[in-house]
Structure formats: structure tokens, C-alpha cells
């Protein structure tokens, strides 16, 4: 694996978000890149969310947005390139080789290292998915540069034009802003659903640059023997649900979680939960919302019997509307929910279910 350092030792390294001057060599790094994750022709939506974010950063810097698509040559590559442009890319780099058909660390990090060293982007963004985190950790090491993981906010620092990447730390108790000053590219991973999905604009145009790495398969040690798709796609549904009804420890026992399922069914919603509920086995762990679970941003998030601990909050606070039901008027969830009901969730959930059901009947009759 090529270990060629992209970065000579920094001439002068300033601390903090202060003014500082990049070396001439590092000034050559231009543009904001997103590595578009596609697996078997399917693009992870976090990549489009990141293109929206990259667009904002690039506009502040006055540079281009680049999208990098890696994979085996195939008809869907053109389609994905078009989508990347529609979501904000100015230039798409397609890196195509049979060895890139399935994600593997070794070939992916080899070609990404070379492509970054050739085209020199100043910022490289990846989703904090299993692919993105695996690849980012590897190429930040081959490129010997800074990587900030799991960011929730990205900005350009006006003092030094560097990426200011903000992420939760200490289990979400605190936020910290991290910068990579005297090294390029600046790298960050961002969790799915943290950033807003940008508007798709089919009229946008952009260039496509084809890169053919000519990889020799026999130099790669790890082989993919098989891929077993998940039989239930529940995970994806929670992350992209428009409406989520979540239950917490306040529901007191496993049987009461049925009240959450009932309301979700009437609303066509997905069911979420706080960590104690998944740990107690009341619901499966893929339904956990929060720092160690899923980040969600539905149009409506109903939280019943959830205290609103910071680790839960970070997973749901970007929802358009949060309605909290809690018997304790001082529960922290009321600090960030938009609307609150102080009361017993065991009574309010069935009342909501019943009344939504009636409204739906009325609606059906009316239409």
C-alpha cells in the first residue's frame, strides 16, 4: 500500500481556530469532495445528504464540489453520476475497476489514496457508515492527515478557511469543534440523517472525469466469498420514516410497548425506542434511537415515557416536530421537544390511537 505522505511537515502550526498560513504546496489542494457510497448499484442516501453539505461549504470557499464514485464498470454508474450532479456535484470522478465491485478496504483505500494525491481536494467527506468509517480510517492514515469522525455540523472557519467540524464528545455531554490546520485534505465522516437531504435539481450540469486504475486482482489478499442480504429491511425504514413513535422506560414493562405499536400502526409510523428498552429486550436493538443507535429525522417524532437524556436527544433532535409525553413536567425531553403533554403515557397513547383512528375514518368517508 502506498504510504507516500501527502503532507510535508508543517512549516508553522497554529493552535485553535486562529489565523495561519498554508504552505504553497498545501494551497494547491482545492475543492470539496464527497465519496459516494454505492454498493451493488445502490447509493447510500447519506452521500446525497453530504453533497448538499459539500455544496454549502464549497460555495463559502468559492470552489467546486467533487463526487467520487468507486465500483465495477456497469450501466448504473452513469445514472449515479447524474444523480450526484443533480444533488450538487460540479465534477464527478468515476473510478472503475472489476476489483472495486464489492467494498474491500485494500483496493478501495489504494485507489482513493492515489486519486486524492492526484487531484488534491482540500476537504473529503464520507458517511459514518460501515463503509465510510472503514475507508476513512484507512486513507487518513495513508494520507497522514486529520480525520474527524461522526460530525454533526460542518462549517468553514472564517479566520483560516479551514473546515470546522463539530462532533459530540464524552458520550454526547459536550460538543467539540475540531480543525485540521496544516494538513490536507481535511477529512470528516458524518452520520446518516444528521444533514438535511438537499433538493434534487435535474437541470444542473457537471463534468465527468473517468479514472481507470487498472488494478491487478491478485495483489489483494482479502476476497469476498459471499454477500448475505438482510432479510428484514427494518433498519432502513426507521432511518427514513416520516413518522416515528418511540417508547421509553416510562412504559414500565414489555407488554405496554404494544401501545406504541398500536399508535404506530394507525399512523403508518415506525417504532423507535430508548436504550433501556432495547437492552431489556422489549424491542429489537435496530430500533434504538440515539447516540449508540439510529439518528432519525422524521416529520413527526412522538416520544412516550422517554426522559430525553442527551444520548437519546442527539439521535432525534433534528426531527421536524417532536411531541413528548411524560408524567414528569421537569423531564429534560421538554427542553428540546416542540410540544409536550404532561401525563401518563399508558393512558395517552391509547387515547391518541383511538382518536387518530376515528379521524382517519372521517377522512376516508369525506374523500
Amino acid at each position: 500500500m502506498s504510504q507516500a505522505p501527502a503532507n510535508p511537515p508543517p512549516a508553522k502550526k497554529a493552535a485553535g481556530g486562529r489565523k495561519f498560513e498554508l504552505s504553497e504546496e498545501l494551497k494547491a489542494y482545492k475543492g470539496v469532495w464527497v465519496i459516494v457510497e454505492q454498493e451493488r448499484g445502490k447509493v447510500h442516501t447519506v452521500s446525497y445528504e453530504l453533497l448538499g453539505e459539500a455544496r454549502k461549504l464549497a460555495d463559502k470557499l468559492g470552489v467546486e464540489v467533487g463526487a467520487v464514485i468507486l465500483g465495477a464498470p456497469g450501466p448504473f454508474i452513469n445514472e449515479i453520476s447524474g444523480e450526484a450532479i443533480a444533488y450538487g456535484a460540479d465534477v464527478v470522478y468515476t473510478v472503475l475497476d472489476a476489483a472495486l465491485a464489492e467494498y474491500r478496504t485494500e483496493p478501495y483505500s489504494k485507489v482513493m489514496t492515489d486519486v486524492v494525491n492526484t487531484f488534491k481536494p482540500e476537504i473529503v467527506l464520507l458517511g459514518a457508515s460501515t463503509l465510510g468509517r472503514d475507508l476513512a480510517g484507512a486513507i487518513a492514515t495513508t494520507l497522514l492527515t486529520g480525520l474527524t469522525a461522526d460530525c454533526t455540523e460542518l462549517d468553514i472557519s472564517p479566520e483560516n478557511r479551514s473546515l470546522a467540524a463539530t462532533r459530540p464528545t464524552f458520550g454526547g455531554t459536550l460538543l467539540c469543534t475540531i480543525q485540521t490546520l496544516a494538513y490536507r485534505p481535511q477529512m470528516a465522516t458524518i452520520r446518516p440523517r444528521v444533514m438535511q437531504m438537499p433538493e434534487r435539481d435535474g437541470t444542473r450540469t457537471g463534468r465527468v472525469v473517468e479514472v481507470t486504475p487498472n488494478l491487478a486482482e491478485d495483489i489483494f489478499v482479502t476476497k469476498v466469498l459471499d454477500f448475505i442480504p438482510d432479510s428484514d429491511q427494518e433498519e432502513a425504514q426507521l432511518a427514513f420514516a416520516d413518522i416515528i413513535v418511540s417508547g421509553g422506560k416510562g412504559l414500565q414493562k414489555a407488554e405496554n410497548f404494544k401501545l406504541v405499536w398500536d399508535l404506530a400502526e394507525v399512523l403508518g409510523a415506525e417504532v423507535g425506542a430508548s436504550r433501556p428498552c432495547t437492552q431489556a429486550g422489549w424491542v429489537t436493538s435496530d430500533r434504538q434511537v440515539g447516540q449508540t443507535g439510529k439518528t432519525v429525522r422524521p416529520k413527526l417524532y412522538i416520544a412516550a415515557g422517554i426522559s430525553g437524556a442527551i444520548q437519546h436527544r442527539v439521535g432525534c433532535e433534528n426531527s421536524d416536530v417532536i411531541l413528548a409525553i411524560n408524567s414528569d413536567p421537569n423531564a429534560p425531553i421538554f427542553d428540546f421537544a416542540h410540544h409536550g403533554i404532561v401525563g401518563d403515557a399508558l393512558q395517552i397513547l391509547p387515547a391518541l390511537t383511538e382518536q387518530f383512528r376515528q379521524r382517519r375514518l372521517v377522512n376516508r368517508k369525506a374523500s
Binding site: 478496504t105 483505500s109 480525520l147 455531554t173 432502513a236 416529520k299 409536550g340
Partner: protein, 276 residues
């Protein structure tokens, strides 16, 4: 078989409190634990040792008090432990940390060739998931992250087959030793240590290493060796407004009715989604 397991001592973050006046972390009295994600990797390493023999070395970089975590790991069954500690390491980010740990693993490798390195999938305090890949890249080892199951290890052909969690499914990967593995949470559960292991853990001297023991290039560790700088630490700002409370006389059903009315009038667009 020689397996190295990298662990980290972390504060039990559920108990971290922020000083209300100074906005700084109050560390006093916060118990320190082994990063919970590391335990899945440690257990998997111990299982391989049970099956194939050999030894498991636990390695941590941290302050002298991290000794407690190493002794805990030995009490579960790890053979020996290395504490990499030096003031010069303070302020290391993930790139500098992976450099320092790799230096120590290289030294262990000279003593007895290392077949596998295990790291935690991520930590609960830093949460970066980067140190494992950093070590794999530096050691030129095969990188196998998010492993749900080790299907097979063949010490003669030096092949290893694992199931790796990826988006939308599981990859079955055939790879070769030496490899760096991070285990998925829930892939196993930590054993109870035996009485013998507990006594051994209390008695066995740790290897205390510092930068002079194994680090070649001092400029690559600590603040100096870290490309990233923390420019600001702050408490999440509370939302400007607190929740608007929905009040109604007449118990749960009146409250539910008032809530639905509120949703429909305040968010007319949402109403369509709610009663499709």
C-alpha cells in the same frame, strides 16, 4: 498464536457531569471502565486462544491509572499486559495514537510474531472508530472491521474467514493472517474470569513502556504528531424555547384530542401524512 488486543480505559460517560458555572467536565469521582466495545474483541481473542493455544497480550496507551483496566483484562484471561505511558503522548489524536500503538505492536512482534490484532469497534468517549484501521494500515495487515463472526481460522494456510457487517447485509470475507479485527457489539459476551486468572492478574507485573522503549519518531506522537486540533469545546445549546405544553381538562382523552387539534392546525401539511 500471538494475539494483541488494544483496549482503552474510558470514563463511564453516563456519569459525566458538567460544572454548571465553568462549563468544564467534572472528572473527579467518575469511575473508569474498559471501553465496552473492547470487551467483545477481548472475548473473541480469548476464545481463539482457548482453541489454538498461544497468548493474548493486552495493550493500552494511557495514563498510569490505566493499569487497572489492564489488570481487569488479565483477570478475564489475557496472558500479559503492556501499558504504554508517557507524558509525550498527551494530546495524541487518532493518527498519533495509531502510530504509538503500532510502535508497541512492532516491538511485541519482534518478541513473538503477532498473528492478529484486535481493537474495539469504537470507544464511548472518542467514538472515532479510526485507531483500528490506522493500525492495520501502518502494520500492512488485512483490515477486517465490524466482524460479526469469525467462521474459521486455519493456522497452516494462515487463512481466516469472517462475517463482516456491511450496509444492507453481511459480507463473508476470506482473508489472511496477520489481520486487524474489530468485533461488532453483541457478537459474544464476556466470560467470568477464573479464580486463577484473578490471582494472576493481581500478581503479574505489567510491562511499562514509554516513548523510549518503542517509538522511533517522537515528532509523530502527542500534540506535535496530531493533525487535528480541538478549537472549541462547549455544552450543546439548549433550544431557545421549551416545549409548548398541551393542556386540557378531562383526562387523557381530552389531552389526546387537544394534541391532535394542535398538530393539525399548526402543521397542516403534516395532517395529510397522519391520516392517510
Amino acid at each position: 498464536m500471538h494475539i494483541v488486543v488494544c483496549i482503552k480505559q474510558v470514563p463511564d460517560s453516563a456519569q459525566i457531569r458538567i460544572h454548571p458555572v465553568t462549563n468544564t467536565i467534572m472528572r473527579q469521582g467518575v469511575p473508569a471502565i474498559i471501553n465496552p466495545y473492547d470487551l467483545f474483541s477481548l472475548e473473541e481473542a480469548l476464545r481463539l486462544k482457548d482453541r489454538f493455544g498461544g497468548r493474548v497480550t493486552v495493550l493500552t496507551m494511557g495514563p498510569p491509572m490505566a493499569e487497572a483496566s489492564l489488570r481487569k483484562a488479565m483477570s478475564f484471561g489475557a496472558t500479559d499486559a503492556v501499558l504504554l505511558t508517557d507524558r509525550k503522548f498527551a494530546g495524541s489524536d487518532t493518527l498519533a495514537t495509531s502510530y504509538a500503538l503500532t510502535s508497541a505492536i512492532r516491538k511485541l512482534h519482534e518478541e513473538e510474531p503477532v498473528d492478529l490484532v484486535f481493537c474495539g469497534k469504537q470507544t464511548i468517549d472518542g467514538d472515532t472508530a479510526q485507531v483500528g484501521p490506522g493500525i492495520a494500515t501502518r502494520m500492512n495487515m488485512q483490515q477486517l472491521t465490524y466482524v460479526a463472526k469469525i467462521e474459521d481460522v486455519n493456522l497452516d494456510s494462515r487463512e481466516i474467514t469472517v462475517q463482516r457487517r456491511s450496509e444492507g447485509g453481511v459480507q463473508v470475507l476470506k482473508s489472511r493472517l496477520p489481520a486487524m479485527i474489530t468485533m461488532l457489539e453483541g457478537s459474544n459476551s464476556m466470560r467470568f474470569g477464573t479464580m486463577d486468572d484473578m490471582f494472576r492478574a493481581a500478581r503479574t507485573p505489567l510491562k511499562l513502556w514509554n516513548k523510549d522503549t518503542c517509538v522511533d519518531d517522537e515528532a509523530k506522537v502527542g500534540l506535535k504528531g496530531s493533525p487535528t486540533v480541538v478549537s472549541k469545546v462547549f455544552v450543546p445549546k439548549p433550544r431557545a424555547e421549551k416545549a409548548k405544553m398541551i393542556e386540557a381538562e378531562g383526562g387523557a382523552s381530552a389531552q389526546a384530542a387537544a394534541a391532535i387539534d394542535m398538530l393539525f392546525t399548526t402543521y397542516p401539511k403534516l395532517a395529510n401524512d397522519l391520516v392517510r
